[in-house]
C-alpha cells in the first residue's frame, strides 16, 4: 500500500486554514546545510543552483534562529538555530533533559500552554514568524501536527478520534472520506475499517499510536512533530511506525525527537545533536545544539567530539 496514492489531491499540501497565517511567499531555496537565513546569504545563494555534493536543494519549511526557552527564570534551551526542509525527516537526539522536546514544542507553540514558559528568538515557518504578535497559536497548531510520547487517543470511537481535528478546524468535504484517507495514510485502515465505531481504548498500544498519527494527518498538515513516538511501544509496533514515517515523508516533513539512536539512523535524513550545558555558577542545565548535519555524517563522521562520544555510546 502506498500512502501517496491515498488522497485525491496528494500534491496540494496547503492546509485549509485562514490565509492570515499564511505563507508570505518569500521562501528561499537554501540548502539546509547553510547557516540561517540572512539577507546577504540570499543573494549568494541564488547563484548556487546546482547541487554539488549535498542532496538537491530542499525547500526550507522551518527556519529557527537563536531559539531560547525560559521556564520562569530558568533557561531550558538557548541559541538553537536549525532549519528543516520539506519532505525531510529530521531527528533530534541527545541525552535526557537536553531540551529536545522543549524545542520541538516551540515549533507548534505548545509551549504556550505551560505557565511561565517564554520563547525567544525566531521560529520561521514558510517565511512567517510563528511568534509574531498577530499569529494565533490555535491556527499554528491546525497546520502543524503533533504526536506525543504516550499514545493519547480520545475516549471515543476510532472514527471520532480521526474526525476530531477536521471538525474543530472546520474542514470542508465528506467526513467519511477524510477519515478514510487519514487512516489509510496512517497505515491503519485495513486493521480498523470494520470497527470504526469501536472505542479507541480497545486498540493495542501500537495501533493507538498509529491512530494518533492518522488523527494528526487528518487535517493535512505539512509537518508532523513527533515526540519520542515509539518509546512506549514494542519493537514490532516501532518498526511499523518507522515504515510509516518513511512513507509519510514522500509528502510531508517530519521532526522526530528520539532517544533511540538506531531509530534516528534508520529513519532520518538529518540529525541534530543536543546536549546539556551546566552553568558554572548556578546549578542550572541548559540545552544547546552541538551539531546539525546529514544523519550519515553525524553517525559516521561527526565533527564534534561530544557528538562522537554520544553516538558511540560513551555517555548519554
Amino acid at each position: 500500500m502506498s500512502a501517496s496514492t491515498a488522497g485525491p489531491n496528494p500534491d496540494n499540501q496547503t492546509p485549509k486554514a485562514p490565509a492570515e497565517v499564511g505563507v508570505s511567499g518569500n521562501v528561499t531555496d537554501l540548502t539546509p546545510y547553510l547557516p540561517p537565513v540572512d539577507s546577504e546569504y540570499d543573494l549568494e545563494m541564488s547563484d548556487l543552483t546546482g547541487p554539488k555534493e549535498a542532496p538537491a536543494p530542499v525547500e526550507v519549511i522551518f527556519d529557527c534562529s537563536d531559539v531560547e526557552v525560559y521556564y520562569g527564570e530558568h533557561r531550558a534551551i538557548r541559541d538553537v538555530s536549525l532549519s528543516f526542509g520539506l519532505r525531510e525527516v529530521t531527528a533530534l537526539i541527545g541525552p535526557s533533559g537536553c531540551g529536545k522536546s522543549t524545542f520541538l514544542r516551540c515549533l507548534n507553540r505548545m509551549n504556550d500552554l505551560i505557565p511561565g514558559a517564554k520563547v525567544g528568538g525566531h521560529v520561521i515557518y514558510h517565511g512567517q514568524d510563528l511568534y509574531a504578535d498577530e499569529i494565533d497559536p490555535v491556527q499554528v497548531r491546525k497546520r502543524i501536527g503533533m504526536v506525543f510520547q504516550k499514545p493519547n487517543p480520545f475516549p471515543k470511537s476510532i472514527y471520532d478520534n480521526v474526525a476530531f481535528g477536521p471538525r474543530v478546524v472546520g474542514m470542508e468535504g465528506d467526513m467519511d472520506e477524510i477519515v478514510e484517507r487519514a487512516l489509510v495514510r496512517g497505515a491503519l485502515w485495513d486493521e480498523v475499517k470494520d470497527r470504526l465505531t469501536e472505542n479507541a481504548f480497545g486498540m493495542s498500544g501500537g495501533q493507538q499510536q498509529r491512530l494518533c498519527i492518522a488523527r494528526a494527518l487528518a487535517t493535512d498538515p505539512d509537518v508532523l512533530l513527533m515526540d519520542e513516538p515509539c518509546s512506549a511501544l514494542d519493537p514490532i509496533s516501532t518498526g511499523r511506525i518507522e515504515d510509516l514515517m518513511s512513507e509519510l515523508k514522500e509528502r510531508i516533513s517530519i521532526v522526530i525527537v528520539t532517544h533511540n539512536m538506531q531509530q534516528a539512523a534508520r529513519v532520518s535524513d538529518k540529525t541534530a545533536f543536543f546536549t546539556v550545558e551546566m552553568a558554572e555558577d548556578e546549578k542550572r542545565r541548559t540545552g544547546v545544539v552541538v551539531e546539525y548535519d546529514a544523519t550519515d555524517t553525524i553517525f559516521t563522521n561527526p565533527s564534534d567530539k561530544r557528538t562522537e562520544d554520544y553516538v558511540t555510546g560513551k555517555f548519554g
Binding site: 497548531r141 506525543f148 493519547n152 487517543p153
Partner: protein, 299 residues
C-alpha cells in the same frame, strides 16, 4: 553458625508470633465491633421506622394532604411534591453554576493569582459550614434582604442550592482533574481552541463523575431540614405549590412537624413519611451508582 542452624533460625522467624497474633485478633475485634455498632444502630432505626410507618403506607398517603381534622385520612402529597420541586429547582440552579465554577477553577484560573487561591480555599471551607448557617443566609438574603422573595419555593430551592454548591464544585473539579493532561494536549495540538478542547473532550470525559456527584449532592439537599425551617417553610399545607412564588413544604419539614404532634397518629405518619423520604434517597443513590457504572471513564 552452621548452615543448618541458619536455616533453623530463619524458619523460626517465619512462625507466627503469639504476641502479634493476639494484637491482630484484638484489632479485628475492634474493627468488626465498630462496623457492627454502626450497622446495628442503622438497622434498629430502619426497623423502628418501618414498624411504625408501614401500616400507613398506602396510595392514599401519597395522594392526601395533611389533615388535623381527619388524621386517619392525612397524607403527605404537598410534602412529596414540594420535595420533588425543590430538588428540581436546586438542580437547575446548582448544575450550571457548579460546573461553570469548577471549569473556571480547573481550566481557566491562573493558580498563581491570590484571588483564585482565595476562591479555592473559601469553597473548601464553605463545604464544611453547617447547613443551618445556610438557612440563616437564605433568610437574610433571599427571603428578606436584597432579594426579598419571602418564604417561597424559589427561596427554598436557592437556599438548598447554595448549601450544596460547594460540594458540587468540589466533585466537578475532581472529575475534571481526572481527565488526563495528555487528552487536553492532544486536542489542542490538533488545532482545537481552548473552548473546543473543554467542551468536546474535558466535559464529556468528566461527565460520569459529575453526574454521580450532583445526584448525591441533590439527595443531600432534599434530606436537609434545618435551612428550610429557618427560612420558614410552611407547616402541613393542604395545597401543592403552584409556582415559584408559592409557599411550600418538604418531607423533612413535614416529618419534623408531625413528630412534634401530641397525637400519636401523626407520629406514626412521620415514620411513614420517613420511609418515603428514604425510598427517594435510595432511588437517587441507585441512579447514581448505575450512572457511574455505565458511563465511568477509565483512563
Amino acid at each position: 553458625m552452621t548452615g543448618h542452624s541458619i536455616a533453623r533460625s530463619a524458619i523460626s522467624g517465619m512462625r507466627r508470633g503469639d504476641k502479634s497474633n493476639k494484637r491482630a485478633f484484638l484489632f479485628d475485634v475492634l474493627m468488626f465491633g465498630a462496623i457492627g455498632l454502626a450497622l446495628i444502630s442503622l438497622l434498629a432505626l430502619i426497623i423502628q421506622t418501618v414498624v411504625k410507618g408501614a401500616p400507613d403506607l398506602s396510595l392514599q398517603f401519597f395522594l392526601n394532604f395533611p389533615s388535623r381534622i381527619n388524621p386517619a385520612n392525612s397524607g403527605a402529597q404537598s410534602a412529596i411534591v414540594g420535595t420533588l420541586y425543590l430538588m428540581l429547582l436546586t438542580a437547575v440552579f446548582v448544575i450550571p453554576v457548579g460546573i461553570a465554577t469548577a471549569l473556571y477553577l480547573e481550566e481557566y484560573a491562573d493558580k498563581t493569582r491570590w484571588w483564585n487561591r482565595m476562591i479555592e480555599v473559601n469553597i473548601q471551607n464553605l463545604a464544611a459550614v453547617p447547613s443551618v448557617v445556610y438557612g440563616i443566609l437564605g433568610l437574610a438574603f433571599i427571603v428578606r434582604g436584597p432579594l426579598g422573595l419571602g418564604p417561597v419555593l424559589l427561596a427554598g430551592g436557592l437556599t438548598l442550592g447554595l448549601l450544596v454548591l460547594p460540594v458540587v464544585i468540589i466533585v466537578a473539579r475532581e472529575s475534571i482533574r481526572a481527565v488526563p493532561p495528555s487528552i487536553r494536549e492532544g486536542a489542542l495540538a490538533l488545532g482545537a481552541t481552548k473552548w473546543q478542547m473543554v467542551s468536546r473532550q474535558v466535559l464529556p470525559g468528566a461527565r460520569a463523575g459529575m453526574v454521580t456527584g450532583i445526584i448525591l449532592s441533590l439527595s443531600r439537599a432534599i434530606g436537609e431540614t434545618a435551612p428550610l425551617l429557618v427560612i420558614g417553610a410552611a407547616s402541613s399545607p393542604r395545597f401543592n405549590p403552584s409556582g415559584l412564588g408559592d409557599a411550600f413544604t418538604a418531607l423533612p419539614i413535614q416529618i419534623f412537624s408531625w413528630t412534634q404532634d401530641p397525637n400519636s397518629v401523626f407520629v406514626n405518619q412521620a415514620a411513614t413519611a420517613s420511609i418515603v423520604l428514604l425510598g427517594i434517597l435510595l432511588a437517587m443513590n441507585g441512579v447514581a451508582i448505575v450512572m457511574r457504572n455505565r458511563y465511568e471513564q477509565r483512563w
